[in-house]
Amino acid sequence: MAKTAHPSRRTFLQTALGALAAERAVPGLADAAGRPYAPPASEARLVALPQYLRPDPFGGIVRADRSAVPAAGSFEKNKTISLECARGSYASFHLVVQTAVPDDYKLDLHLGDRAGKIQIDLFREWFHPLRSGEYYPDALVPASLPYRSQIPDPDNKITGQTAQAFWVDIWVPPHAIPGEYSGRAMLQSGGKSRTLALKLRVHPAVVPAEDAVAMDHNSYDDSWIAAQFPSRVRSASGNFFESDELFRLIHSYHRIFYEHHGVFHQLGYGHAGRVTPEFAPALEGEGSRKRIADWNLYDRHYGPLLDGSAFAQTRRGPKPIPFAYLPINPEWPASWLWWGEPGYQAEFVNVVGEMERHSREKGWTGTRFEMFFNHKKRYMGFSWDGDEVRFPKDLSYFKEYGRLLKKALPADTPVRFVFRADVSWDMEQQFRELNGIVNMWTCAGSILSWYKGAPKMLRERGDIVWYYGGPPEVTQPSSAIAELALRAWVWDAMGFIHWLAVSPGKDPWFKFTGGGTTLVYSGERFRLADPIPSVRLKIQRNAVQELTLLDSYKSRHGLERLKAEATRRFNRSTPDEWWNPRPALADKPPYEWTNSEMEAAGEPTRKLFASLDAAAWSRVREYVMQLAPETT
């Protein structure tokens, strides 16, 4: 998988120009020149903002979201915040505490719910300094109510800070009672109190439990966990990589993504075939005597994920993970030494057959086990590309592995094995040549955009189809992450993969690199034993739940009509415009394509999304909320 491109200069200019216009329209958040202003001396202020307007630490809105300020006009009126959501979903917003001078404050939040079903989660927003000197909020530190602290925040250490932001999640479970709820947010500072009234309308509609699109978060190996939680490593007795603490943390990462309507993948092998021990059963023997010797680490790692018990305490409830990489690679379970010889088939079929039996006996039938080849020739382990094939001769290896997998599995197995391929240059040919062999496709979004109708064609033949890219950096408009989910749905793809979603960089707290490879952070800095979420992950979650609700109306309104209205509201486009024409270069062999040609082929959609504004998803959400009073 490869990462998507960063926003163009055009995006930046259009966003900045829009921002200047917007700031003139809405006094109170910042002045016309982009300078935030503080409350009058000795006063404190409590401000509520919709989720798509990310605050900065000086009382303004971050540059990327400023052009959407006018859209927030009705969010807080007469000191009242008005929210609405369906059941089985979250309503979220930012609360911002502002003080003119350094001061202590106490923040509290309450919502009246006699049934006691609706829950409020509060998170302190961490302002990450960028090399540009700007601050963007992203990491969310769980906070309990009432919350007491001071501005400037002693932990975040921002000179001149006058505003502290909080992310508020209101969880409305599927069995909550529809209707109107009210509450308030209260700030005490400088001996005075400020209050905002809170009104929440809960619609009768319930967001379906199955997400309309799978938002996947990829990672490699697990050594990064040790790097991000050094004190947990120190506290574990013996080898951390065989400890219960490691597996607790792995399960915790799965939980945070699951709770945010996402999927988590960890690839357990390297480009030359080195398998990390806790990602595979231990093997012994050779040739026809090769077998599984020990399931201990594998079962401790995967057992609770595959039977769903790792998710027992979550709001979404226990459920097996939907997908998991197998450790299969050209060097596991069969040694490449025997490739092309009977020994390769013997080793492969013996071990994969044992894995099938083990999974069947354990009842692990809710997960799709992926045979997936991630290696590339350029890493010198093998003579063919498993990931992103560019040279058509490499497809012969896929055909052989397809044969071996079939050979290893009983025809009537209830255990779900899939053959996954991550495809880019050569995808059009692979869709044809590997029909019936590969049945899970993860496609480079830029190239898939040339092949309108391909996802639908693949789905109709029973295949799974996702596309991939990377998390948008924090400096992109807040709606950029929602676009990824919406695009999957508009394209008839079944999911999107963030190629790397757990790598925040060496020092995300004080030397932030933009977050283009992470959507979660280690909680260790805050003495937490688990990962913590981000603003972008929350926005993505909310988009997925709303998209899922929207999709549930397709039988009543028709899928194409829903798509047309969603894209119109999102960026005044039509679903057709989310595709690029198939370029002439697609008729040349993929190894002759150049980057410049490929970039040119993506120009129409790049233009379309260059001026994306932060409020884009909120307009789709409004549409979903208009439908929400209907039952599906």
Binding site: D221, H271, R274, W339, M380, R390, T594, N595
Partner: protein, 177 residues
Amino acid sequence: MTDNRRLSPEQVQQELDHIARVATAMIDGDACRRIVTPRALEFMFKIDPHDRFLAGDNYDVNDAEFNAVKKTLIRLSRLAPFACDVNLWMPIPGHPDKIQVVIRNAHELSQFWVFGTIAQDPVPPMKTVLETGQRVAVKQTPGMISVLAPVYDSLGGVAGLVEVVTHSSSPAHEEEM
């Protein structure tokens, strides 16, 4: 398989040296030269400001030669009573100041390979092997030991070298993408 921590460092080095000596005898330097395709070599040093992955995206090998040599390297690694890799390093035609790893193996051990690079600068011990044909033991990376040995072609010239490598202390977890 023996845990090499049970062996003295001298014993480990002896084992690696023995494998390296056999490797020199067994590996066909002419076949090694045919592994990387002429097209891949052509792109290896091309620079395109719009495409920083040009060399990697165009990297290709001849299957038959790659697999034949790789299988020999795997067999050689199995001579050790502990986990060990035998990697193949080749000079790059037309670029005497560069070298590339052409084949890596299943334990993914190397003291010299930089993740993601195709052509890199040879370390001094590699130059010694290529220039003199001597075997050289290297302990450059903490916790690892390698023996470098020449690979000869049919004219008696040094075509490349092998890196026979193992951990000299307990292995750490490594991360790749």
